[in-house]
């Protein structure tokens, strides 16, 4: 349309834009649970973001003060329901530090193998749902197909598919049978070539790279001040992994690399870097399992721990490397049969707290990419 035909009022100089308040969630496919985000937008640009959490608050910390030490473990499972094994292992390690119990070597091996399997399952979920966020449905089906195989193994181990209550204080609930060991070996054999399939399908896909590179950049200083850990920190190029740098359990006996973001596709610490760190960690988890699965020592799978635990008076802050970052347990015991205080420091809680800072000035579609790259589980954020 030529300029002369425009009505005077249609001149763009006179057009005014208003800020618009948009509610994303709490029931929204790309919020990975029940997260509500109040977005102030100016056109397509995000001006500010206010995450609203608490929809999944189940008072786990309060409950923990009313049940005995062993009964806290199932609560911990239910916090990060995609990585129950890792969570429960963190709690068990914290209480064992208070109790000063030595876990039998067989139990340590089983624990590390299961928690690495769980890490693969959790990262598969992150990979699949991130594909969904970016508009690709196929990766989700691939991820679930393979995650299902891990859940089958866990079902054979513990009887449950999602919430296992498998890591008990002092060891594990049950022993590994030869059939399960064979199943794990078969899975690793099956899974290793799959990772290049994922890379072909998603990681180096042009559309995917265009959507995720240079988006939601978090650099090292940002991660430090926000207390971000795990793949978020490593995505910013910091080589830090508790399993490597402050090893617990038997992680000092295994060889593995710590994948870090290198800014391969764009800026260091963007969404693609965080994504690729998770993908490469799956390969490292396979490496760890392969080193351990053939050498599980014989012996008991649980230390001799009293049925009704009395934990000596004291306090401990213990952290373990979970798929989403460092999960911390700050536990105080007053010497009785129930914990005095169990404070859970959830990695995702701090991940969500960065949203306002990181998403100002992004497009709304890029906000979805950023939220997906945080890999949050609201059960753990709200506890």
């Amino acid at each position: 349309m030529s300029e002369t035909l425009l009505h005077k009022d249609q001149n763009t100089e006179n057009l005014r834009t208003d800020e618009l308040l948009i509610n994303m969630g709490p029931q929204h496919p790309s919020t990975h649970g029940v997260l509500r985000i109040v977005i102030v937008t100016d056109g397509e640009i995000v001006k500010s973001v206010r995450p609203d959490i608490g929809y999944l608050h189940r008072c786990k910390e309060k409950h923990s003060e009313n049940v005995d030490w062993m009964a806290v473990a199932p609560f911990v499972d239910r916090m990060d329901y995609l990585a129950s094994m890792n969570n429960a292992m963190g709690y068990a390690i914290a209480v064992e530090k208070l109790l000063n119990v030595e876990v039998p070597p067989r139990a340590e091996y089983i624990r590390v193998i299961t928690s690495e399997l769980q890490r693969i399952a959790s990262h598969l979920m992150a990979f699949g749902t991130y594909g969904l966020d970016m508009g690709a449905f196929t990766p989700f089906m691939h991820a679930f197909r393979d995650r299902e195989k891990i859940l089958d193994i866990f079902e054979a181990m513990s009887g449950a598919r999602l919430l296992y209550n498998y890591m008990w204080i002092g060891g594990t609930m049950r022993d590994l049978t030869p059939e399960i060991i064979t199943a794990i070996k078969n899975f690793i054999k099956y899974f290793k070539p799959m990772m290049s399939e994922y890379d072909n399908l998603v990681s180096y896909n042009k559309i995917f790279i265009e959507r995720t590179k240079d988006v939601g950049v978090m650099d090292k200083a940002f991660c430090y001040t926000y207390g971000l850990t795990g793949p978020m920190l490593r995505g910013a190029g910091v080589s830090w992994d508790l399993r490597k740098d402050m090893p617990y359990s038997i992680y000092d006996k295994v060889q593995f690399d710590v994948p870090v973001g290198k800014g391969e596709m764009g800026t260091l610490g963007d969404c693609w870097d965080r994504y690729i760190v998770r993908m490469r960690e799956m390969a490292e988890s396979c490496k760890i399992i392969e080193q351990l699965i053939d050498n599980i020592p014989a012996g008991p799978h649980r230390a001799r721990v009293a049925k009704k635990l009395r934990v000596p008076k004291g306090e401990v802050f213990s952290r373990t490397e979970c798929p989403r970052g460092e999960l911390g347990f700050y536990i105080i015991s007053d010497g009785s049969e129930i914990p005095y205080r169990v404070k859970v420091k959830s990695p995702c809680f701090l991940n969500v707290s960065t949203l306002d800072d990181v998403s100002r000035g992004l497009m709304v579609a890029d906000l979805v990419a950023t939220v997906g790259s945080l890999d949050i589980v609201l059960g753990e954020v709200d506890r």
């Binding site: 608490g54 208070l98 991660c223 207390g227 802050f317 700050y330 105080i332 420091k345």
Partner: protein, 175 residues
């Protein structure tokens, strides 16, 4: 660097902050006065390479009538956590300086502590409830907290079965 070295540095630098070591097992911690926590944490971050805050939380010591705020600054350089504790009187709205200006991680962690213990973090940019609804009454992680029977007219189900009559306690037996 060890906890004792940090303690010596803090005591010589901030004699008025009342930094003391307490030998709790298995993790020892340092107790700090509320008025000194800001400068102690700033010193830890800027001069002793404690780059991040690994945890912040509250504890209710009902028997001693005290509230405690626990800080766990962590140093990637020294691979060391220095647990710091600030003990204040046990009352709703007791004031503790906010450390948001030092670690941004403290922003939400302090909101959570406010939500659960009613500690007022002075200087916090946005001190609102975070996990509970904005109009919730009381601070649930206080040890003498009693769950209300009703929230905005809705019975709070604490057990399975019919909701109790209005005015009759749903739990515990005694009113």
């Amino acid at each position: 660097m060890t906890l004792d070295e940090v303690l010596a540095k803090l005591q010589s630098r901030f004699p008025q902050a009342g930094v003391q070591k307490v030998d709790t097992q298995p993790d020892a911690h340092l107790s700090v006065d509320a008025k000194g926590i800001l400068e102690v944490l700033r010193f830890l971050r800027d001069e002793l390479q404690f780059e991040t805050l690994a945890n912040l939380g509250g504890v209710d010591l009902l028997a001693e009538s005290k509230l405690v705020v626990v800080y766990h600054p962590f140093s990637y350089t020294h691979k060391l956590i220095v647990p710091l504790k600030v003990t204040v009187n046990r009352e709703v709205g007791v004031k503790v300086p906010s450390v948001c200006s030092i670690y941004k991680a403290a922003n939400w962690l302090e909101r959570e502590t406010y939500d659960m213990f009613g500690i007022d973090f002075e200087g916090h940019p946005d001190l609102r409830r975070i996990l509970l609804p904005d109009d919730w009454k009381g601070y649930p992680l206080l040890r003498d907290y009693k769950t209300p029977d009703y929230y905005n007219g809705m019975p709070i189900p604490l057990y399975f079965g019919d909701p109790p009559d209005e005015g009759k306690p749903a739990h515990g037996g005694e009113a």
